[in-house]
């Protein structure tokens, strides 16, 4: 399940929902990305491309389901203006075994960071700057 929204989400509720998916579930792995308040960051705004974002996330989920034995997947990504400590993204993966759950969770985050059309703008002491893409993120996505 893919959700792109401005509202916050409840990681506990989302993990519980996937944990109850089926009696075949033996492992649920999750990742929560937060706004890091370092270097005097006061806020971060996430812009996205409505429509393409959902399509890309659905394609990434389909790729993960093709590569690993997954019972359920949840990806929630927020957009809009967020403050340090706010949640940005949630990935939850349910599988029969932990190996597939861990791997698919990391894969989903790595591909999301390089293929889903979101852009971060940081605010620091009145200045607004668009964040540059990191080559490290490309390297992490290319490992898979």
């Amino acid at each position: 399940m893919i959700r792109v929204q401005s509202e916050d989400f409840d990681p506990g509720a989302e993990i519980a929902r996937l944990s109850e998916h089926s009696t075949a579930t033996g492992a649920v792995a999750s990742f929560v990305g937060l706004v890091r308040g370092d270097d005097d960051l006061t806020a971060m705004t996430l812009e996205h491309y409505p429509g393409m974002t959902e399509r890309q996330l659905e394609a990434i989920e389909a790729e993960a389901r093709c590569r690993w034995q997954l019972l359920d997947v949840t990806v929630i990504h927020r957009h809009g203006r967020l403050l340090p400590g706010d949640r940005i993204v949630l990935v939850v993966v349910a599988s029969s075994h932990r190996g597939d759950a861990f791997a698919a969770c990391e894969f989903l985050m790595d591909w999301l960071k390089t293929k889903a059309p979101f852009w971060k703008m940081e605010e620091r002491s009145g200045r607004q700057d668009w964040v540059d893409a990191k080559s490290e993120d490309d390297s992490r996505a290319e490992r898979w």
Binding site: Y49, H77, L112, K113, K120, W130, V131, A133
Partner: protein, 83 residues
Amino acid sequence: MKILYFAWLRSKIGCGEEELTPPVGTATVGQIMAWLATRSPGHAEAFAKPALIRAAINQDFATPDQPVGPNDELAFFPPVTGG
């Protein structure tokens, strides 16, 4: 043709969406970028370094040599930075 701009391209150009008809012979993503760069100082600044820009046709990633039709939705944006 509907053309969309995101992130710093939108900031530099000053709008997020334009409905434009590229001149005859302007058929690919790369050719349209070169033509857009001539439209205003903001466009020129946004498209000054084409290698930094990513494109999508109808919401799928596209390369500079891909052809674009009059009914397509074409989008330009920087490398993505979500997550």
